[in-house]
Symmetry: C2
DNA sequence: TGTTAGCACTCTTTACTTTCGAGTGCTAAT
DNA sequence: ATTAGCACTCGAAAGTAAAGAGTGCTAACA
């Protein structure tokens, strides 16, 4: 479809535009070392590339900028493997060098390193709780009427929820309940807890506990009502550094959606395994239509559990970012392999 | 010092500027109902007010805007008690109407309500952990070499930290240690824990535990290494709605410091009891020199524990914001009174 | 003596023009 | 097939002009 020369020119245009954010003219292209043709020749090729929809003009006599189709072609066919600098590699590795056992710590560090290295906004979706299993359940009484329920997972994740104990529930009932649940439910995947509680254990529990109904109801609501989506975001302010976000209204739209954890979680959760790139209008969320989102998945104990993403302008350093995400997601998966 | 007429005019200028963000001219002032003088008279008074430094011109023939000295005078002497609308009051009360026992939930809700009501950025500094006491300490083993330490406070706050258990420490030692700590330390203020561990308990512990040194060391570092500052921020994007933050560079500076939790914690921690207002250059942090920060303290069980703040342009609705903060901080203190 | 009308003056804002240059498309020559 | 040449287009930047909001000052007024 595209001649070698056209491929070369397209590559130069996109590479250049990613760096400068300025439209590229035929003269500038001809001056590149790898180009041995005159501006006129290049103009002809550019006219063809434009006709095919890979590049665009900002106005009738401007240089060219990549179109979304152009970026798509670029990432699909022109992406050269990027050799990460020693510094990049070290910074990523440094996340895993300490004895961090807690998931949150690793993720928090990763988010920061990633946004610092790229100057984009990095987003990590934490492990799906349903991939993890229950390690321990516990009630700590704070006063006669209040208590904290604490749930520890096999990944070291701790969920806790305070609640008031209504007067009709005996504290002893609650304790019994928790004891029974611990005996029966340790090792069960979190996502199944609800079902198991509901269907298999009610009868057994009725046997032991006087007023199982309300005690159960309370414990359930305390623990499972709002399963928080763990979305970690770093480098939000980096967006402001990109020239395409000089306009405050654009930034506002983008920031608003990033404040919505659930929305972000949905966006990231629906990604395929491995590296995936959404460019501009390929993004389902309107406010991201001027951005590209690159996602990578990582796994915990062999199962896919979460997503790492970088959000930046369409004019992203795709090559480098893909390499960084690859490295990081691999290292994460490796670190979490035997948890 | 200032005549009644000057006070009136100053008040009108500031009230008006707070609403419109536009310089106010003599003609506009004279049209106000409460003003019965001609523009010429007002011009004379304005010249005086300017000479005294309460108002400024943006250029030689512009209307006047309040100076920082003007705002200071305004909040010190001209602030009328603001009557909150039913809606405002209800929204604030709604935070406390549910059975929220957990501190985090109350604070998170408050932050959101506050930023929604004001269109400013709201910041809440969580309870100082050292004001709270230990309720329970616990170790949950995840694997042979990893465990989570969980610390529950009397406020229902849960701290947890995962750590690797080095081979030289016996799991049983760790358990013993935790048992002893629980017997001895429940009810001790968190801030004293470190001291108590260090000085009073070492001898006792030595008696029971074989290798107290390293077990102790590990537990300590797991629990007390980085005491997180709990800074809750809501409505960061609201800044973008203010005309004074049309400039992306200003926003960037401001957002950067808000990403630094410790810095924000320091700023808020160093406030006096009750309501306090810092205007423009009164703020110690450079990036806030174009902003006003209004803080209020709330207490838990009678002791001062935290700060609620609103950050906005110098042109804030001081009167309303003060009332809102007063109401919220009182309700918070009241709610937390007997925790 | 305090207040106000009148007026010249200042400065910003907006719109309109001009100029400059980067870049294009096309044609004709190589 | 490639390139030099050239007329043309458009945006960005700079300059000009008019409009309007607001001021300070002076002199008149109650």
């Amino acid at each position: 479809m595209l001649s070698n020369r056209q491929l070369l020119i397209l590559q130069v245009i996109i590479d250049e535009f990613i760096q400068t954010a300025q439209p590229i003219g035929s003269r500038a292209i001809s001056k590149k070392d790898e180009i041995i043709f005159s501006p006129a020749t290049i103009r002809n090729e550019m006219a063809d590339l434009e006709e095919m929809g890979y590049i665009e003009k900002t106005h009738s006599s401007s240089g060219r900028v990549p179109s979304e189709k152009g970026y798509r072609f670029y990432v699909d066919h022109l992406l050269l493997p990027f050799h990460l600098s020693k510094n990049d590699q070290q910074l990523i590795s440094s996340v895993f060098e300490q004895d961090l056992v807690e998931f949150e710590q690793v993720v928090q560090k990763s988010v920061n390193v990633l946004s610092d290295l790229t100057n984009y906004t990095s987003i990590i979706l934490g492990p799906q709780v349903y991939e993890t299993t229950l390690k321990q359940l516990q009630i700590v009484h704070l006063s006669a009427t209040t208590a904290v329920a604490i749930l520890v997972t096999n990944t070291g994740h701790v969920e806790h929820r305070s609640f008031t104990i209504p007067t009709e529930i005996k504290a002893s009932d609650l304790e019994k309940l928790v004891n029974i649940l611990n005996e029966r439910l340790v090792g069960v995947p979190i996502v199944e807890l609800h079902h198991r509680l509901q269907h298999e254990l009610t009868s057994i529990l009725n046997h032991y506990v006087d007023d199982i109904e309300s005690a159960f109801h309370y414990l359930k609501s305390a623990l499972f009502d709002q399963q928080p989506n763990q979305v970690y975001i770093g480098g939000i302010t980096n967006m402001l550094l990109q020239p395409e976000f000089n306009d405050v209204t654009k930034v506002h739209a983008l920031y608003s959606i990033m404040e919505k954890e659930e929305l972000m979680a949905n966006v990231l959760r629906s990604t395929n395994e491995g590296i995936h790139i959404s460019i501009g209008h390929e993004n389902k969320v309107n406010a991201m239509r001027d951005c590209s989102l690159i996602t990578a998945t990582y796994s915990l104990a062999g199962k896919q559990v979460g997503t790492i993403a970088l959000l930046g302008p369409k004019r992203m350093e795709y090559s480098r970012v893909v390499s960084l995400l690859n490295l990081l997601s691999n290292q994460m998966s490796h670190t979490f392999h035997d948890w």
